[in-house]
C-alpha cells in the first residue's frame, strides 16, 4: 500500500519531462478543437511537424478514430518519397485523407503560375481556402511552430482568419492560461497550431522517443543537386537546372519538407534520428534560413504571406 503522503512526496520529485509537458499541452489543444468546432481538419504535409501532429492526434483520440479527416495540399511538386510516405502513414492510421490539388486550381483557372517563379508556395493558399470552403471546415490544424520565425512568434495558438484566410496581427484575441476562445462569426475559420511551443529540437526528440517513421529524404542520401540562390536544389522535371548551373552528385539531407522547387538540401551525413539530433544541436543556421528560398526575400515576408491567408 502506498500512503497518499508518500505518493505526493514522490510525485513532487517526479515532474514531467519537457516532452511530456509539451505533448500534454498539444493533446489538450486538439481535444478543445474537437469539442468546440463542428468540422475540423488536420493538415498533413508529410513533414516532421505534421508527423508530430498526427501522433498527437493519436494520443488525443485513441482508441477511437480521429474526429476529423486529414488533408494534404498537394502542390504537384512533391518529393515522391514524401507522397509514398503520406499514403502509407494515413493507411496505417486508418484515417480519411483528402487531397486538395494546386494543379487542379491552376487547371480551373483559380490561380496562375508566376512567370519565372517555379515555386507554388503562394498558390497553395488559394487551394487551401477553396478546400476550406468546399468542405465547410471551421478549424484547420497546422504544424507551425513559434520558433520558426518572428511573425509566428506572436501568433496565437487559435489564429482567427477571415473569409479570405487573412491573419490580422493587430486584432488578435488575447490568449490566457489554457482557455482558448473558439467563437467564430460567419465566414471566419480558425487555424490552430497545437505545437506552437515546440522547437525543432523538441520535434526531433519526440520523433525519436515515439519511434515514428519520417520520410527518407530527412536522412543523408546521394542526390543530384545544383546551386541557386545560395541553396542546393534537387534537379527534377519541375525544376530543371539552368545552363550555367552545374549538377553535382552530393550526400545531402533535408531539414524541412516542402516543394521540390524551393526547398534546399543541406550537406549532411546524418543517417539516423540520433544523428539528426546531434546535427540540430550543433546547427548555427535556422531551418528556414537554410532551406527555404521564399523566406529570405524580406524580413517581413512571412507576415505578408500570413496576412494573405498562408499558414
Amino acid at each position: 500500500m502506498i500512503e497518499p503522503a508518500d505518493l505526493s512526496e514522490r510525485a513532487l520529485r517526479r515532474s514531467l519531462s519537457h516532452l511530456d509537458a509539451l505533448e500534454s499541452e498539444s493533446v489538450f489543444i486538439m481535444r478543445e478543437v474537437a469539442a468546440e468546432f463542428e468540422r475540423p481538419v488536420l493538415l498533413f504535409s508529410g513533414g516532421k511537424d505534421s508527423i508530430v501532429l498526427l501522433r498527437i492526434a493519436e494520443k488525443a483520440f485513441r482508441p477511437a478514430r480521429f474526429p476529423f479527416p486529414v488533408m494534404h495540399i498537394d502542390t504537384g511538386h512533391n518529393f515522391p518519397e514524401v507522397l509514398d510516405f503520406r499514403d502509407r502513414r494515413v493507411a496505417e492510421l486508418g484515417e480519411r485523407l483528402i487531397v486538395a490539388s494546386v494543379q487542379e486550381s491552376i487547371d480551373k483557372g483559380r490561380v496562375a503560375e508566376e512567370l519565372g517563379n517555379p515555386s507554388r508556395n503562394r498558390l497553395q493558399t488559394t487551394t487551401l481556402l477553396d478546400a476550406i470552403l468546399e468542405h465547410r471546415f471551421d478549424a484547420v490544424f497546422g504544424g507551425a511552430r513559434r520558433d520558426e520565425e518572428t511573425a509566428r512568434a506572436k501568433e496565437r495558438v487559435f489564429s482567427l482568419r477571415d473569409e479570405f484566410g487573412q491573419w490580422e496581427p493587430k486584432a488578435q484575441r488575447p490568449e490566457l492560461w489554457n482557455l482558448f476562445n473558439g467563437r467564430l462569426r460567419r465566414g471566419q475559420h480558425m487555424r490552430v497550431f497545437p505545437i506552437s511551443n515546440w522547437t525543432e529540437m523538441d520535434v526531433w526528440q519526440y520523433i525519436q522517443r515515439e519511434g515514428v517513421e519520417v520520410p527518407s529524404i530527412y536522412f543523408a542520401h546521394e542526390r543530384p543537386v545544383f546551386r541557386r540562390d545560395s541553396m542546393w536544389l534537387s534537379t527534377s522535371v519541375f525544376l530543371p537546372n539552368g545552363p550555367d548551373e552545374a549538377v553535382e552528385s552530393m550526400v545531402v539531407r533535408y531539414r524541412t519538407v516542402g516543394d521540390m522547387t524551393c526547398t534546399g538540401a543541406v550537406n549532411s551525413t546524418a543517417a539516423t534520428v540520433a544523428e539528426i539530433i546531434a546535427e540540430v544541436a550543433a546547427a548555427r543556421i535556422t531551418e528556414r534560413g537554410a532551406t527555404r528560398a521564399d523566406d529570405a526575400f524580406s524580413e517581413t515576408s512571412m507576415e505578408d504571406r500570413k496576412r494573405e491567408g498562408y499558414f
Binding site: 513532487l12 489538450f28 520558433d147 506572436k154 490566457l176 492560461w177 489554457n178
Partner: protein
C-alpha cells in the same frame, strides 16, 4: 529535463531586449542567419550597434514604431532546462499583454534600470506578477555598469522593492544585479561585483525549484472530451479525457462527479501508451470509471472530501482587455475550464490603481487595461476554486457576445463557501494589500 516558462516585463529602454538577446545568444538560441539579418537592418538604419530588439519584435508595426506591442514567445534550452519566454511590453497601455504573458508563467523577471531605481512601472510589473499568481519573481537590476557597479545603489533598490513587494502576494523574490550589455551576472558570475554573493541570472533560472508549485492537494479534473470508439473491439469503452488541473489521481480512488454529485471509483487511468498508476498536473489522461454515469464536457471529477464551490455567484479580479468598458449590468459569455456559460456583471466593487494599489470604490467602469474587482452571476453553476488555489479552476475569460473577442481575464477571489468545509470570513483571499 523539465520546462520553465517565464515572462519578462520592463519599461522601454530598461534593456529587456538586450537581456533576452544575450540569454538566447549565449545559450545558442539565436542562429547566425538571424543575427546576420538584424545586423543588416541595424546597419541600414544607421545604428551604431546591433539592435537585439529586432530579434524579438516580429511584426511590421513594431519594427516601424520601434516598440514591442504584443507578447512574443521565445525558446531556448540549456543542458539543465528548456525555457519558454513570454516577452511582454512594459508600458501601462499594454497591461493586458503583460497579463496574458504572465498567465502561464512559472517565474517573472522584472527589469529595473539601476540609474532610475524603482519606478511606477516596476511596481506595476510586480503587482501583475502577483495578481496572476506567478510563484517566483526575479528583480534584475540592470545597467549596473552605468552606476559603477555600486553596491549601495543596488542595496537601496533592493530595499525599496522588497518593501513594496511585502504588500503583494509574492513568496519567492530574488534580486540580481546585472549588466545585460556587458554580460555581468547574466550567464557568468561577475568579477565587477564581488560584493554580490548570489547566482547569475541563468543559474537561477536553471535551478529555481518549481516542483512544489503544482497544486497536488486539491484534486480536480475538468472533463474535456468523451472518448467513445463505438467499435466492436471497444464496444463498451467510455473514457473521460482531459488534463489534470490539480491534485493526484490514483487508480481505485473514490471520486465525485460535479455538478451531479454522483460518486464512483476510478477503474483505470490511461494514455495511448497504456495504463498509468497516477495522474497529476499537467498530464493529459483518459479516465475510466467503475459505474456508468452520465458525464459530459464541462463536468468536473474530484475527491468527495475536497470539492470546488458549485456556484453561480462569485467575485473576481478582472483585467479588462477591450476598448468598450466593462460596467455593471454587462453581459458576456464566460469560459471557465471546459465549461462555457452566460454571465452578467452584477457589480463593480472597485477599480484598482495598478501603480499605487489604491482602490477606487466610486469607479463605475473598467476601461482597456484596467483591473478591478467585480461580482459576477452566471446562467448555470460553475465549479470554482479561488485562483490562488488553482490557476486552472480559478481563472476564466469573458467573451463579448457580439464581436466574440476575448475581453476580460478573471481570477476568482471568492467562490462562495465550499460544500463541506465551511470557511471563515477572514480566510477570503485578497489579491493585494
Amino acid at each position: 529535463m523539465d520546462l520553465l516558462r517565464f515572462s519578462t516585463a520592463g519599461s522601454v529602454d530598461d534593456g529587456k531586449s538586450t537581456l533576452i538577446g544575450r540569454l538566447l545568444f549565449d545559450s545558442k538560441g539565436i542562429f547566425e542567419d538571424q543575427l546576420a539579418a538584424i545586423e543588416q537592418t541595424s546597419r541600414r538604419r544607421g545604428y551604431s550597434q546591433v539592435d537585439l530588439a529586432l530579434l524579438t519584435d516580429g511584426l511590421r508595426a513594431e519594427r516601424e514604431q520601434g516598440i514591442t506591442i504584443d507578447v512574443a514567445y521565445r525558446y531556448f534550452a540549456t543542458p539543465k532546462r528548456k525555457f519558454i519566454i513570454a516577452d511582454t511590453p512594459g508600458h501601462v497601455q499594454y497591461t493586458r499583454n503583460m497579463v496574458t504573458g504572465a498567465s502561464t508563467a512559472d517565474l517573472a523577471i522584472v527589469l529595473v534600470d539601476a540609474r532610475k531605481g524603482v519606478l511606477e512601472q516596476s511596481r506595476r510589473h510586480a503587482f501583475i506578477a502577483s495578481l496572476l499568481g506567478i510563484p517566483h519573481l526575479v528583480v534584475a537590476v540592470n545597467k549596473m555598469d552605468l552606476v559603477g557597479y555600486d553596491e549601495t545603489v543596488y542595496d537601496a533598490i533592493q530595499q525599496e522593492f522588497a518593501d513594496w513587494a511585502s504588500r503583494l502576494d509574492v513568496h519567492d523574490i530574488a534580486f540580481i544585479p546585472i549588466s545585460a550589455l556587458h554580460g555581468d551576472n547574466v550567464v557568468q558570475r561577475s568579477l565587477a561585483m564581488p560584493w554580490y554573493q548570489g547566482p547569475s541570472l541563468l543559474y537561477h533560472l536553471e535551478h529555481v525549484y518549481i516542483g512544489s508549485d503544482r497544486n497536488l492537494i486539491d484534486v480536480r479534473f475538468p472533463v474535456q472530451w468523451v472518448v467513445r470508439p463505438q467499435t466492436d473491439a471497444h464496444h463498451d469503452y467510455r473514457g473521460y479525457a482531459g488534463q489534470v488541473a490539480a491534485g493526484v489521481f490514483k487508480k481505485g480512488d473514490e471520486v465525485v462527479v460535479l455538478p451531479s454529485g454522483h460518486r464512483t471509483r476510478i477503474k483505470r487511468l490511461e494514455t495511448m501508451d497504456g495504463e498509468v498508476e497516477t495522474a497529476m498536473p499537467p498530464l493529459s489522461v483518459t479516465m475510466l470509471l467503475e459505474d456508468e454515469l452520465d458525464i459530459s464536457r464541462g463536468d468536473m471529477i474530484c475527491r468527495p472530501h475536497n470539492q470546488p464551490a458549485v456556484t453561480q455567484d462569485f467575485e473576481a479580479m478582472v483585467c479588462w482587455m477591450a476598448d468598450a468598458p466593462l460596467r455593471a449590468g454587462g453581459r458576456y459569455s464566460l469560459k471557465h475550464t471546459t465549461r462555457s456559460v452566460k454571465a452578467v456583471v452584477d457589480d463593480l466593487r472597485y477599480r484598482m490603481d495598478v501603480n499605487t494599489l489604491h482602490r477606487d470604490e466610486a469607479a463605475s467602469e473598467l476601461g482597456l487595461n484596467e483591473i478591478g474587482r467585480v461580482r459576477i452571476r452566471t446562467s448555470t453553476p460553475l465549479l470554482l476554486d479561488k485562483y490562488e488555489l488553482s490557476r486552472t479552476t480559478g481563472g476564466f475569460i469573458l467573451i463579448d457576445e457580439t464581436t466574440f473577442d476575448t475581453v476580460g481575464a478573471g481570477m476568482v477571489v471568492r467562490a462562495g463557501p465550499p460544500q463541506e468545509v465551511p470557511e471563515p470570513e477572514e480566510a477570503e483571499a485578497e489579491v493585494a494589500a
